[in-house]
């Protein structure tokens, strides 16, 4: 009787999409620990978790968009430009609060443009956000001429470098945003509609739901999430760099896909995205600790992405 109950709990646990990848993460961490025992050291975990937090938050935004079958390639450039705006404002003597708000507004505004182009001008998400990727990066280079912006006020640096209850602040930011995003997706009508659009856009439209408006909001959320990370990174590096965020769109999409998000829309979760980001972070860190050439990291991540997609295919059959 007891055994049966146990089995059924296990069975329910495994019925969740995320269980398999969670298990994969545990196995991965154990393997890394065997080959590089210092993986489990407090200082290493601190660094890894902070790095994972950055990728995860950008990937949260990406998740919202991918759930409807869309894609946001501009997150890396949006991160960069938001950081430059915030850093520029701070260096120019504006208050920290106002500077941060300006940075966040930049992300939201760029997301709004993406969303309007996709919903109302009917440009394919891939193209609209590819254009934004290039445009926003170009603006960064025009504004900074390629030079970093320094003179970040000291008190602000704690956001990127400090900790609270011995956990890095960026990790706390991720936890809070994860909770909000999860609530939005799983408890509200807005979240239900987001999944519904990805599941069947036609049916959702015919059910009287304003699909276009929701999509615009989703790209704004993606822009907002990217700008949060962009702003934290200026505190982390004590400057805004012209190349911050380059290539991050790939990490964000990879985290979502490894975390079980379907690129055709309709399925995926915040928890999955966190695990996806963690798997990538642990692999990168593990390879460094095992003194594998950094060139291999990129190759291994590539293999993991495709492997995740293959597993998903098999599971859905």
């Amino acid at each position: 009787m007891v055994a049966q109950e146990k089995k059924s709990i296990l069975a329910t646990l495994f019925s969740y999409r995320e269980s398999a990848i969670f298990l994969a993460l545990i196995i991965l961490m154990a393997t890394v620990t065997i080959f590089a025992p210092n993986f489990m050291s407090g200082s290493n975990l601190y660094l890894v978790s902070r790095q994972i937090s950055f990728v995860a938050v950008v990937a949260f935004g990406e998740l919202f968009v991918i759930l409807t079958g869309g894609i946001d390639l501009s997150v890396g450039s949006v991160m960069g430009l938001s950081g430059v705006v915030a850093a520029g404002a701070m260096a120019g003597g504006q208050s920290i609060i106002l500077s941060v708000l300006l940075g966040l507004a930049t992300g939201i505004a760029l997301g709004l443009i993406n969303g309007l182009l996709i919903s109302y001008v009917r440009i394919a998400p891939f193209i609209a956000t590819l254009g934004m990727l290039s445009f926003a990066r170009g603006v960064i280079l025009i504004v900074t001429k390629g030079w970093p912006i320094t003179n970040i006020p000291k008190p602000f640096l704690i956001v990127g470098q400090g900790d609270f209850l011995s956990l890095p602040i960026p990790l706390w930011v991720m936890i809070v945003l994860a909770a909000v995003a999860h609530f939005l997706l799983s408890r509200t009508a807005f979240g239900r509609r987001t999944y519904a659009i990805g599941g069947n856009e036609q049916a959702t439209f015919l059910s009287g739901i304003n699909v276009k408006k929701i999509k615009v909001f989703l790209y704004m959320i993606s822009g907002l999430m990217a700008s949060v990370v962009g702003i934290i990174l200026i505190a982390r590096f004590n400057s805004a760099q012209a190349d911050t965020g380059t290539g991050w769109e790939l990490d964000a999409i990879a985290a979502a896909v490894i975390g079980g998000t379907s690129l055709s829309g309709g399925s995926g979760s915040i928890f999955g995205v966190i695990i996806g980001a963690a798997i990538m972070g642990v692999i990168r860190n593990g390879l460094v600790l095992m003194r594998v050439s950094p060139y291999w990291q990129t190759a291994v991540i590539g293999i993991i992405i495709v492997l995740a997609a293959v597993l998903d295919r098999i599971k859905n059959k």
Binding site: A189, F190, Q202, A203
Partner: protein, 497 residues
């Protein structure tokens, strides 16, 4: 009689919930033109897809020139010499006429490059034989449908087809183009090529065919020599004469109060000047062939597509509906004809699907969905409509077609509509579920809901409707009062040119 070119024996084919073909025998002689007739859903397309290798039959045998064969794919059929020209032409609109003509069968030079010169020469031969002028370099998408069809016929000739299936080839041709097509069919015939000709236009079938086969409900119900057939005879065969006692009866009459007036509606793709009215508690049938514009009209009414002109008067007040959301607010609900593609989110549970159009009613603070309210609504509909599901959390993908349809009905009933537009509400569901859906429809009308019933199943329209609007090519052809409603009247209205 000579030996048949193609013979089908005892062919059956089922899809989930529907027996599409039931023990069909069918044959074609060399150089013969056979007409295939039947209402929407009679099984014509399924039969043609079996002959052209798209579907494999569940049981039965196919003989080609007296040899038993199996057709595993459309390529398989092409190799044997069977070509099909679909109503929706399958070509690559961006490629030139020449490239389309030789698609997949390009002539190569000795160095394995495409030999355009040889292809052009061959193309000119074929089109001069067909006696048509086709600009070979032009993208096919820029050519008229008639010319595109000629390219398809040319393709069939290139492949040395011995049998060409034409699925409603004249549906978008002008009279002159139809004459040209008929001339070509006659030439093909003289060459010994057999043609299966599917059409809804009886007069064309009379002109061009040698023999007519009629299907109804997946069964072979009649076969006539064209020279000996009459129009009445064919209509009677297509419609059948079964009794429909299993349809539910109305307990109340529709009231005289007009609830909705549609005045002079026009809009994409081809709706022109449609007017009709709808009374409280009335079931108004909307009959017509596929492509008559019934679904398109409904989409204009709910604002899913934008009308170019026309008025809508609800309860005596003119309203302007520009989106499905506004339609719902005005109490107009539309159940789409395509359950899987346009009605349900298949991977979501019954609960989420039923509450999909009433989010504002089940949403509390912070935009949170009130799960308790959702379950209340869902459970009440599971009971009311007798939806067979393991519970409100069951994914709709796992329900049978009939129960899925009930979930869609529940979604729309939850919006408490005063006008319910039902587009093919019983398509692809089994007989029992059909009867249940019919009962739901009559009960609703008895309680005062006004219903517009779009259906391609004439018995359903005839049994349930208080009045019938017959549509043809985007226009209202006539309105039949209760006493005049019969399958024969509807069909002859449609077919009267």
């Amino acid at each position: 009689m000579s030996e048949p070119l193609l013979a089908l024996k005892h062919i059956s084919k089922s899809f989930p919930g529907v027996k599409a073909l039931d023990d069909i025998d069918f044959s074609v002689q060399k150089g013969e033109v056979v007409g295939l007739l039947g209402e929407n859903g009679a099984g014509k397309s399924t039969l043609m897809k079996i002959i052209s290798g798209v579907y494999t039959p569940d049981s039965g045998d196919i003989f080609w020139q007296d040899k038993k064969i199996k057709l595993k794919s459309i390529m398989d059929a092409q190799e044997k010499g069977i070509a099909i020209i679909f109503q929706e032409l399958n070509n690559c609109p961006n490629l030139s006429a020449l490239e389309n003509l030789f698609l997949g069968h390009e002539i190569r030079t000795s160095a394995n490059f495409v030999d355009f010169r040889a292809m052009k020469k061959k193309a000119k031969e074929i089109f001069s034989y067909l006696d048509v002028q086709i600009p070979l370099e032009k993208p096919v998408g820029k050519l008229s449908v008639a010319l595109q069809q000629m390219i398809e016929i040319g393709k069939a000739l290139l492949a040395n087809a011995k049998l060409i299936i034409m699925d409603e080839p004249t549906s978008s041709l002008t009279d002159k183009e139809v004459q040209k097509l008929f001339q070509i069919v006659k030439e093909l015939k003289e060459r010994g090529i057999a043609v299966i000709f599917i059409s809804h236009k009886l007069e064309e079938v009379f002109i061009i065919t040698d023999r007519i086969v009629v299907l109804r409900d997946g069964k072979h119900v009649g076969e006539l020599k064209t020279s000996a057939a009459t129009q009445d005879e064919l209509v009677a065969l297509m419609v059948g004469r079964e009794m429909h006692s299993f349809f539910s009866k109305r307990t109340k009459e529709a009231s005289d109060e007009t609830i909705l007036k549609i005045e002079n509606f026009s809009g994409p793709p081809y709706i022109r000047g449609v007017s009709f009215y709808l009374r409280k508690g009335e079931i108004l049938g909307l009959a017509g062939l596929i492509g008559a514009g019934r679904t398109e009209l409904a989409l204009l009414m709910i604002g899913a597509e934008q009308k170019t002109s026309g008025n809508m008067v609800l309860h005596g007040k003119e309203i302007d509906v520009r989106s499905p959301w506004q339609a719902i607010q005005h109490g107009i609900a539309y159940l789409s004809e395509d359950r899987k593609m346009k009605s349900l989110v298949l991977q979501m549970p019954v609960r989420a699907n039923i509450t999909m159009a009433i989010h504002s009613a089940v949403t509390g603070t912070l935009g949170m969905l009130d799960r308790k309210k959702e379950l209340e609504v869902t459970n009440s509909f599971i009971r009311l409509l007798d939806i067979k599901t393991s519970g409100p959390e069951q994914t709709v993908n796992n329900l049978s077609g009939g129960n899925q349809q009930k979930v869609v009905l529940a979604k729309w009933l939850a919006t408490k509509p005063s006008i319910l537009i039902l587009d093919e509400p019983t398509r692809g569901i089994d007989v029992h579920a059909k009867a249940e859906v019919h009962k739901i429809i009559t009960d609703l009308a008895d309680k005062g809901t006004s219903i517009i019933l779009i259906s391609s199943e004439l018995p359903e329209i005839v049994a349930l409707s208080d009045r019938v609007v017959v549509m043809h090519e985007g226009q209202v052809k006539s309105v039949l009062e209760k006493k005049d409603i019969s399958q024969e009247n509807i069909m002859s209205t449609v077919f009267s040119a």
